[in-house]
């Protein structure tokens, strides 16, 4: 058969070359976004960090950069983040791991296929709605048990946050466990071990880096959470490690200041970018660690 016309081939080639460039733009878009975030955080927080001596960030006991006599103890905010994250992990890690083991090693396939998407829904609920639950449903409930609980508490926010991040632990954890080869389990079963024994002695260690990745990514998610803590844990920075207290997290502080007037370049404006920079570094660390762990898991598998 005579070959296609030269002209139509040339057109095809031209289209190919154009499309490669168009598609490449998409790839660049994601890089640009990261670039945008990093550059903005650096440039807009630089005035704050150059003005405030590093020492004060650590030694000041309160975080009140917008006051007449400003205090720059960022540890007040970090404490809030730490405690709420801690409470959340106390809920999500044990519960999520047990669920992961159950779904991976015990549950019948039909149940697993049904439950997994439903668990994913837990992380799809808008965080304002979770905030509502924490403040208006859970807190009154907890107050029935412990009447001295304040209206805003890190406990309440942390518990709801824990429920929100269960899917992070369960989904990744269960995937990691299921990819441990059946052959390894069979060795233990052949020796007479039971399902739980095999799960704890063979599967869990085998899936460990995958599970560790899941935990680390869950931590990252908890640290970055904003609305639940802003609504239910309080907006006043306070250096306290008592979950029954109210306190602001790094993220809640950003929300609180944003709710007010924010003229470009004002001290409030600079301080939220400073908080954002700190937040970015924290979550970046956790994310990179999490992905390194995941890579190690996949390579070992």
């Amino acid at each position: 058969m005579p070959l296609p016309q030269e002209s139509s081939r040339r057109l095809d080639k031209a289209v190919e070359r154009i499309m490669v460039w168009v598609l490449r733009l998409g790839g660049w878009a994601s890089v640009l976004v990261t670039f945008g975030i990093v550059i903005t955080l650096i440039t807009e927080s630089e005035p704050f960090f150059s003005k405030v001596p590093f020492r004060r960030l650590i030694t000041d006991k309160m975080w009140t950069p917008l006051f007449a006599d400003p205090q720059y103890g960022i540890s007040a905010l970090l404490a809030g983040t730490l405690v709420t994250t801690g409470v959340a992990l106390l809920v999500a890690v044990p519960l999520g791991t047990i669920l992961a083991i159950y779904l991976s090693e015990f549950a019948p396939v039909r149940l697993r296929e049904l439950v997994k998407p439903m668990l994913e829904l837990l992380s799809a609920v808008p965080t304002v709605v979770y905030g509502y639950f924490a403040l208006l449903t859970l807190t009154p409930l907890l107050q029935k048990i412990y009447p001295d609980l304040p209206q805003f508490s890190m406990l309440s926010a942390g518990l709801i946050m824990g429920i929100m991040i269960i899917p992070y632990v369960t989904s990744l954890g269960e995937d990691s466990m299921r990819s441990v080869p059946m052959l390894l389990r069979e060795g233990a079963f052949a020796l007479g071990d039971g399902k739980l024994g095999v799960a704890l002695r063979v599967v869990f260690p085998g899936a460990f880096s995958g599970l560790a990745a899941a935990y680390v990514l869950a931590i990252s998610r908890a640290v970055g959470e904003t609305m639940i803590v802003a609504i239910a844990a309080g907006l006043q920075p306070k250096l306290t490690f008592n979950p029954l207290d109210s306190a602001a997290t790094v993220t809640a502080f950003i929300v609180q200041v944003s709710l007010g007037d924010l003229p470009h370049g004002s001290i409030g404006y600079q301080s939220i970018f400073a908080a954002g920079a700190v937040l970015f570094l924290m979550t970046l660390g956790f994310n990179l660690a999490g992905h390194a762990l995941r890579r190690r898991f996949h390579r070992a598998a």
Partner: protein, 316 residues
Amino acid sequence: MRFAGDSIVLPEHFLEHQKGRALRRKAIDRWFGRLGLILTLGTLGVLAILLLNLAANGLFRIDWHFLTSFPSRRAAEAGVLSAWVGTALLMLVTASLAIPLGVAAGIYLEEYAPKNKWTDFVEINIANLAGVPSILYGLMALGLFVYKFRFGQSILAGGMALGCLVLPIVIVSTREALRTIPAMIREAAFALGATRWQAVWHHLLPYSTGGIATGVILSMSRAIGESSPLITIGALTFIAFLPPPALLDHAPYVSFEWVFSPFTALPIQMFNWVSRPGEEFQANAAAAGLLLMVITLGMNGAAILLRRHAQRNIKW
């Protein structure tokens, strides 16, 4: 997993010494199975209870008036009109940014990009973006879109912030959808003389539409529920007006003025009401939350069904 031997009764002296241990192991397994089931149902049950609570507190507030009124200082008269219109317009901007760029990036990374350090970097970068807290997208939008690009505290800035936020979701689901197509199909197309773009356009995109659509729906669902980036760029919580209309009754008949308009959104409105004391505002918050849940669950459910349907249709 049920074992065949679960219900077999063994003769008395089958396992002299270890019988106790074996029976104990079986009992532990049974208890753990029950524990797992209880915890699973319990976790899902907690979600169900919270939702029912939301409905109990807010369902009665949802009526035509609620959906078509502006917010008001009088709780009983307040409504979500400006909020849901704002959300809808925001989604328009978000979708027009995230979908083309995300699908293009997904195609590029999966079908074109050579395996080198630069591509690795892009992939790590996307994975990292997916884990960046949403409020940081708001901070970026504040510094870059609101001030540097001078878009102001507008739907454009908000939509772009959300677009950047959901971009990784679209990219990842596009890649995964493309990955399910076996290499042999690509080779068959190439062997017939197709260029890479022809293979993508004639085969890969049509066969992966289900998966890509699923990802798009999930990303939009995520965008609708986000509030912290919008708060940061200054979405106002009390807006008693709608953005200027997009369609005009005079030339040039289409206007983009709305893109630069201040705005509010459904989650922002809910946040505002939750922060106010008083049962009436709380009821409004519950109603807004219920609307958000219906939208979110609806979209997620649709995405799941779509994924199942697409998987059933094309068997590789």
